[in-house]
Symmetry: C2
Subunit: 405 residues, 2 copies
């Protein structure tokens, strides 16, 4: 189990943020000091980890001498790609999780898989070339795509917002065109991976990660693990109930979260409430851009104190709260992390309604549910995809320990 031990130690060193000694590692992993010493020697040889004498560190007080270990951020990199129906976002992360470069390009209007693959390959090549990072240090590419996917075979099946896509072998095609090892995951699960990765979000162990964009999705983190589901397609939240009629959903009902929180639903529902948005009648642009512009306008109205817009946003926040409460009750979660391009623009006016419903609802175990922001902004899915690649290459996996007799 040398590989497992080594990966476990690397993860512990990363989480320690430069404060961890070999003795700490032996304590937290339960491995023998000798095993730790041997594994750390191998990590030092690979250059992933470096050591520093405690005495040399600024602010170190008196005490027993020791040597702390930290990862070497520029020893390895990972690329993350978010394939949104409208945009291709590419980020380059170092081993410490710092975003060292970001690129984005409009998705080809044709929506043809081949054209999209060309854009992905071009942008991946460009981000490595322009950043000056040694190709040999790039671990690989993490892809975040709309579902449903076949995770095992690396296929994108037939996403509702990419109507020309059917069983596209995205993982293998990106690997072939870029030359990098590639993995594929669903967009909202990549977002959850970013939430789990960064200490800034407090690494919630039991959380609902809400992503609001062209559609609405919700990933669940349970016991510190992302819930992927039996086929890797967890996260469909469009038909969660918001507890009362709101706006029409594709399923024909009136009280689904998808009928509240998506760019299209926002455009439709604003019109039904008599909120005038210029984007609604803009025939010059595509329906998806029209809906996206409507979100911008609604944010401007709310920022200007428009009472109708504020009331609408309050109701949307409460509707989200109602859906989230149901999930918190079922899975005993204590954290909600909203994210996504719609949330980035409208979040400040959605939080109060969300907060009010969370506070006013019976939740299991008598603990509060906190609403956490994410610091990764609109690139969170691409960042998460890169985190998945780092995780895949470096994080301990217990799979080999699980018994499948």
């Amino acid at each position: 189990m040398g590989g497992f031990n080594q990966a476990a130690l690397l993860e512990a060193i990363r989480r320690g943020g430069g404060t961890v000694t070999r003795a700490d590692l032996a304590r937290v992993t339960g491995l023998s000091p000798q095993t730790v010493t041997n594994a750390v020697r191998r990590l030092l040889e690979t250059g992933l980890v470096a050591e520093e004498s405690v005495q040399r560190r600024a602010g170190a007080g008196p005490g027993r001498p020791g040597t702390t270990l930290d990862i070497v951020p520029d020893s390895k990199y990972a690329i993350g790609v978010h394939l949104d129906p409208a945009t291709v976002v590419v980020v380059l992360l170092d081993l410490g999780g710092t975003v060292v470069a970001t690129r984005s390009a409009p998705a080809p209007a044709s929506e043809k898989p081949d054209d999209v693959l060309d854009v992905v390959a071009r942008e991946v090549g460009a981000i490595v070339a322009t950043s000056g990072v040694d190709v040999a240090r790039v671990l690989g590419v993490g892809l975040a795509t709309p579902g449903p996917i076949d995770r095992q075979r690396g296929l994108v099946l037939d996403p509702p917002h990419l109507t020309r896509w059917h069983d596209v072998p995205l993982r293998d095609e990106v690997a072939r065109r870029t030359g990098f090892p590639t993995l594929l995951d669903k967009d909202v699960l990549a977002v959850a991976a970013a939430i789990c990765w960064y200490p800034e979000t407090g690494r919630p162990t039991d959380a609902a990660v809400v992503y609001v964009g062209t559609g609405v999705a919700m990933a669940v983190i349970s016991g510190g693990e992302i819930v992927r589901g039996v086929s890797g397609n967890a996260g469909e939240a469009g038909h969660l109930s918001v507890g009362r009629p709101f706006g029409p959903c594709s399923c024909g009902r009136e009280g689904c979260l998808g009928g509240v929180l998506s760019t299209g639903a926002i455009l439709t529902n604003a019109g039904a409430r008599g909120i005038h948005l210029a984007a609604a009648t803009d025939e010059e642009v595509s329906p998806s851009l029209r809906a996206d512009h409507a979100v911008d306008e609604l944010g401007v109205l709310a920022g200007a104190g428009d009472a109708q817009a504020l009331g609408f946003l309050n109701d949307m926040g409460e509707a989200l709260g109602s859906a989230v409460v149901t999930v918190c009750q079922l899975l005993d979660l204590d954290t909600v992390v909203p994210s996504g391009p719609v949330w980035e623009r409208l979040g400040p006016w959605l939080v109060p309604g969300l907060r009010r419903v969370l506070d006013g609802s019976p939740l299991p175990g008598h603990h509060a549910v906190r609403v956490l922001p994410t610091d990764q902004g609109i690139n969170v899915a691409a960042v998460g995809a890169a985190c998945l690649m780092l995780d895949d290459a470096l994080t301990p996996k217990t799979t080999g320990l699980l018994l499948r007799v």
Copy 2:
């Protein structure tokens, strides 16, 4: 990690059902043959495991010789207790999971914690005494109780159906009165433990376990693990939406699962539909018994082909299906396991509606959702509580491997 290896091997031997050789164990665990040999020797010494020469086994074909390993069922036992608001059920399981004894007693009408504890201690003592099992072979007591609980401190907080209970230290009191190590878990999570334990249910890895009794609850199994939640109180399903108005819920809404599938809701809704149930006007018994008798009557009507009763049950099955679909979409589950005292009596008439909604709904990843029965009947929560005790004593835990820097 000797303890971990030993427990992992015991679990693999149990799951193998008497077919596993040392070579198989080395293969599935990734441990070295020498480590397996040493750990198995210790298991043989404890008497938990016995070996059998393959040549001696009936029906063994030709092939390389070997020695298979199996657990010794009567080497250890666990007691399971289900504390239902109406009944105390106690079971005794052997290490192989066979229920060797069952007892039940009415819960004291006073509902006072002290009186309930007296009944539990008396029944636990009686099941050991009358079964003739050596007390030294009893690993301990697993308690399944209504939530919310404080799992860490072993408290039952304030269950809605046990109005006189408030922060009752049930775990420690049962341990004190019986002398056995005791653990406490929420009733529906104990049911899920039973589903995970027995090979007969195919050990679903991603399932919704529905329990219908005085109330309705749903435990989720995700990636082979029971979702417990941040405070051990997962499973609250009463406010999952059934997609349309049905019957009144305690929250004031009309479309909650709790307003459809609970004994009280069934009594109320049957009346509202003009289905005459004699129990409805029986003033001789308590409201909870009245509702329970109504379930019996409804089953009799359905069995006799009463069209109104069948229509009502069909609608209830569809309502359950609607709630289950939402959860399957969110968590990408492929299995539903309904259980509990109401399901035991009405299940056959609820399945078609449930099945129809599952088949007619868009589910992630294009896979079907199967409806599995449980073989444990109305004692499933008590059996599950005993399984939890067996698991706690004997199953590998990776906790020691997880890093908490």
